[in-house]
């Protein structure tokens, strides 16, 4: 008790308050020393994220946005979800950072420094939709294993970098090339240096697309550390796990890449539909490629109360993986009737598209506004959960917000 009085009565009191408990031997703290408890990372400061972002997991870091935070046409860093499989690399030295192209299907391995990549190849900027394969997982029944993402594991920032195709052509690939797989600097959760937290990739057709970049800028600035600084593979429209962060090596494989999280249930769906909860054999699982059509109402925030007779403006974004969104609709009556939204063209291929509508609500009461996008091949978002799968991927069910008219 005496010790507490002592601490309360000294300058240590502030530190005590910050740590939330008494500091034993507080008198002995050297000047200028920062307590470990205070180094304890506040993710919002650490990653420059908005305080409304939701932390799902702090080891590894997994943080998602809420629908209304994604209202910007180009997602700023503060509202961009973080999905990490391992620990963020420490002590990154940009000057010594290299990218090596190797694998069974390269003529000879070749290594580039970052400045070589920048000077040797032309840079391109695209706005690219990156959505976590497990976005929406929290809705599956029976529950699916993993971080329980709701709706906010999606972003559409601009990415600047060189085309992977240009680099691969320069390195020289053979006709045996089937798939690329990335290897990165992040650290396995067990800290076992022999294990990679994640090493995924894409078939050559995706690797060679114009928009598949080795990016060094996001929204015109250095890529934030949590998003892959200093070099990130970016493959828009596919599960964001294809867009490897902190990339050091790209292997051009003569087979489907078999790195960490390319096999088992990870980022794979049952090749044929299964009943909820059904066991699926390993050989009956297929790798996810393009993400499905989906949309989000980003304005207003769910829970808006408006006066009777007033029109309600809604807006948001829609995307369709490799495809374009061709139609956007909303319903105020649980899908009995649908009205068309105005839909903009994407800034470039693989960028999300913005929609808006003026909604009339006929009388007082509770409403839900449901949004439904349709892709260029005529596939629409389901109102109910799509096919159950062991890891709860690809939930593209309609987004909805609650509105009250008074």
């Amino acid at each position: 008790m005496k010790r507490r009085h002592f601490i309360r009565n000294t300058a240590l009191g502030t530190l005590t308050a910050a740590v939330g408990t008494d500091i034993v031997f507080g008198r002995l703290i050297p000047e200028g020393y920062s307590l470990l408890a205070l180094q304890d990372p506040d993710p919002f400061t650490l990653f420059s994220k908005d305080r409304e972002m939701v932390v799902l997991n702090d080891r590894p870091w997994n943080i998602e946005a809420k629908a209304h935070l994604l209202d910007d046409k180009i997602t700023p860093n503060k509202y961009m979800f973080i999905r990490n499989n391992g620990l963020i690399p420490e002590d990154i030295d940009v000057n010594s950072w290299t990218l090596t192209i190797d694998g069974e299907a390269v003529k000879k391995p070749k290594t580039y420094t970052l400045s070589e990549l920048r000077s040797k190849f032309k840079s391109y900027t695209y706005q690219l939709t990156l959505e976590c394969g497990g976005n929406g997982r929290s809705e599956f029944d029976p529950p699916a294993k993993g971080n329980q993402w709701t709706v906010g594991a999606v972003s559409c920032a601009t990415w600047t970098g060189v085309r992977l195709r240009d680099v691969l052509e320069d390195a020289g690939i053979t006709d045996k090339a089937v798939y690329i797989g990335y290897h990165a600097a992040d650290v396995h959760l067990s800290r076992d240096p022999g294990k990679e937290p994640i090493s995924r990739g894409a078939p050559m057709a995706k690797a060679l697309q114009d928009e598949t970049l080795l990016a060094f800028k996001m929204n015109g600035q250095d890529i934030p550390l949590a998003h892959g600084y200093p070099l990130r593979l970016v493959a828009g429209g596919w599960p964001a796990s294809v867009s490897g962060k902190w990339v050091q090596r790209i292997s051009v494989r003569d087979r489907v890449h078999d790195g960490s999280k390319m096999t088992g249930d990870a980022y794979r769906m049952p090749c044929n539909p299964v009943a909820p909860g059904e066991k699926v054999k390993d050989e009956d699982m297929c790798i996810i490629e393009s993400m499905p059509v989906k949309s989000l109402i980003t304005y207003p925030r769910s829970g808006a109360v408006i006066k009777e007779g007033r029109k309600l403006s809604i807006r948001g974004h829609a995307w369709a993986g490799e495809l374009e969104v061709s139609k956007m609709e909303y319903s105020i009556d649980f899908g009995s009737t649908w009205s068309t939204c105005q839909l903009e063209k994407p800034a470039n291929r693989l960028a999300w598209q913005h929609f808006s509508a003026e909604v009339s609500l006929p009388k007082k009461g509770y409403y839900e506004i449901w949004a439904r996008a349709t892709d260029s091949r005529g596939k629409s978002q389901p109102m109910l959960l799509p096919g159950w799968n062991p890891k709860g991927y690809l939930n593209n069910a309609c987004h909805r917000i609650a509105i009250k008219v008074t």
Binding site: D58, P60, P143, P300, G303, V305, M383, L384, L385
Partner: protein
């Protein structure tokens, strides 16, 4: 002889009496001296000092429980808690455990996956304790094909 014997007996009892008085006197003196130094008799309530320490250490406790929650990890206090803390929060955060709702079969499958690919050790007898803790405290929730909207924060939408 009898007279002599009686006399000796009297001497012995006087001696005993004097010895007893001396012992009592010494005890009294020691008692008074002690009381002058420690009027609260705190020496004989020695428990109190450790009790104070116990109270303080509880507050600083690394494994503090508050409202049925293990503060450091957020896990519920229940049978098997520390086994879960010690085996399941070394690599990943307890937040990953808490988010997930699985039955016994799927928790075991998850443990096998972690053992095969993520360097999780053999849990031995602890496996049953861990799985029991998880299915008891974090059971799957029925959600159906689409849940109703909950936790709506109503607000006046300005023009």
């Amino acid at each position: 002889m009898e007279e002599k014997e009686k006399f000796r007996e009297q001497i012995r009892s006087i001696y005993r009496l004097l010895s007893t008085l001396l012992v009592l006197f010494v005890i009294t003196v020691l008692g008074v001296v002690y009381l002058l130094n420690d009027p609260d008799l705190s020496f004989f309530r020695g428990n109190e000092v450790p009790q104070e320490y116990v109270a303080v250490t509880t507050e600083d406790d690394f494994d503090k429980i508050e409202n049925g929650i293990h503060v450091r990890t957020g896990l519920k206090e229940a049978e098997g808690l520390m086994t879960v803390v010690n085996n399941c929060t070394n690599c990943h955060s307890a937040q990953l455990v808490i988010q997930n709702r699985m039955n016994e079969e799927r928790w075991i499958a998850t443990i096998r996956w972690m053992q095969e690919t993520q360097n999780l050790w053999d849990l031995g007898k602890n496996e049953e304790i861990i799985v029991n803790y998880l299915v008891t405290n974090y059971p799957p929730k029925k959600k159906g094909r689409r849940e109703i909207l909950t936790d709506i924060q109503w607000y006046e939408l300005e023009d």
